[in-house]
Symmetry: C2
Subunit: 306 residues, 2 copies
């Protein structure tokens, strides 16, 4: 958008966001923070950190105070945050304001932001969702449901690229029910999730940066880590978001194949196991969260190629 001689003073240009693909931006951030950990934020009004939330004047204010405290505690061991949109939407308009405040706080702390809304709709509505996610929330990544096919995914990819951001398509999710649909065997061979992986690779082919990572990635549950080598084969350039570590039973030690090509090729996301660590170890919420995030960070970092 900016020509070399357009008279704009260089100091108002954000150079990283304008000069490279999302994959390159992510690779740089992962290297800088020495972390591939994503802090999931699924605030449950009934399970907020007691000391932080008790003084707030409303449920939405309590959720913001809680999320800020969690980001301040565990964020230094992480590269990104992943707010779960459902948890904010259930608070109505005040919840959407809280969501915006949490995104802003994460950015201030140097963290990338992943809008976990799993949106998906026909093109005209997908375009509106892309505006909400990449212009409204200014998300760096957004999760997208690919069931409606290519023409429904493309507006998300276009919206992400226009904002130097990326998308993560649901390929094989972390829940037991994923077997019902995503694991169905197709008449012409392979499983449905493998077809979704191929579509991810195709749609991301134009978005591969110097770091070898595309701006179209995939969500791949860490609860079934035997899928990861096959997923990596089908999507050599995809950023793999790996949910399911901790509360859902996945282990960070089992996801090494995600990092085969590049450290930033796998992002390990954990939510309840970090935020609720104090319930298990009996410590201070912030201290326990930081310790668990740091444990995940160092474990994942040790697995990855140098």
């Amino acid at each position: 958008m900016l020509a070399a001689d357009d008279g704009v003073a260089p100091n108002i240009i954000a150079p990283v966001r304008m000069s490279s693909t999302f994959g390159d931006l992510l690779a740089a951030r992962v290297a800088e923070r020495e972390s591939q950990i994503v802090l999931g934020l699924d605030p449950d009004p009934g399970a907020l950190w007691p000391e932080v939330a008790s003084g707030a004047g409303s449920t939405a204010a309590a959720v913001v105070a809680h999320c800020r405290a969690v980001i301040d505690a565990a964020g230094p061991a992480c590269v990104a945050v992943k707010p779960q949109l459902a948890c904010f939407e259930r608070l109505g308009a005040a919840g959407w304001e809280a969501l915006e405040a949490v995104f802003a706080h994460a950015r201030e702390r140097g963290l990338l932001t992943i809008a976990d809304g799993k949106r998906g709709d026909i093109a005209v509505s997908a375009h509106a969702y892309a505006q909400a996610l990449f212009e409204g929330l200014r998300a760096d990544l957004a999760t997208v449901n690919p069931l409606l096919g290519r023409d429904a995914i493309e507006p998300f990819v276009a919206g992400a690229r226009a904002a130097d951001a990326g998308v993560l398509l649901l390929v094989r999710t972390s829940n037991p029910g994923a077997a019902d649909i995503e694991d169905l065997e197709l008449a012409d061979g392979g499983r449905l999730w493998e077809r979704l992986a191929r579509i991810t690779d195709e749609l991301g082919a134009d978005g591969v940066g110097e770091a070898g990572l595309s701006d179209v990635g995939a969500v791949l549950g860490a609860t079934e880590p035997h899928h990861i080598p096959r997923a990596r084969e089908l999507m050599p350039h995809a950023i793999l978001l790996l949910p399911g570590v901790g509360a859902q039973g996945g282990r960070v030690e089992d996801v090494a194949a995600a990092f085969a090509a590049a450290r930033a090729g796998g992002l390990v996301t954990a939510s309840r196991s970090i935020v609720g660590a104090y319930r298990t170890d009996g410590g201070d919420p912030a201290h326990s969260a930081r310790a668990e995030a740091e444990r995940l960070r160092s474990t994942a970092w040790a697995l990855a190629p140098a």
Copy 2:
């Protein structure tokens, strides 16, 4: 929840909502309003009704004024409204407030409400979405994406039932890209959308009311009406939401098979063709919208069994 002798005065009980399933409620409303038409509300800030929106102080206020005017004009020929959540979310927190205002206005006008957000997530998040949709927005129906399987759909069904509402699972959508995934042939026979139809029927089996309609229905694009007889065979009790009439090329005349069992078994949804009718016929926006909604209403009503 209310025992016969609990001392609550009968006039504070909402009898329809407490005494029957969602399918019975819908059948009663369809009969009362003599309409199976759903008014889609996908407000584009660049294409609002000029006279209505010009005086508003903000984009969100303009969207509310526009949607209220559209509901007042076309609503009398309809049984429900279907706000597209994406179009509100792109306006941020103010957009969510606008969404709540539009839902409230539709209810005041005696219309049922369909939250078209196509949500879908693992169980804990699906539960949060169900709270947002059925408790927050008080939607009568919500569209749900079934890709993540049964355990991800069940919290929506449970949340809907607790609110005397229903869900509509995406089975075969109206966009061309639906062929990419939804039409894939499975190794054990049939297409993916047919499997989704079977799951819809199974999950809805416990929610069939006296009118023969279940509280778990399906979204089935009117752009490929040859699917409707097969869909009806696989889902004999499902309410079928039929998008794609008008701007997307579907014709109301082609969906008769949806009404085979009951008039309320098919809901024909139209958005741009109603709201933008004045662009084609050169008339007043409200008058043209009402005329097009009434044309759809009378055409669909004539197709249905008495």
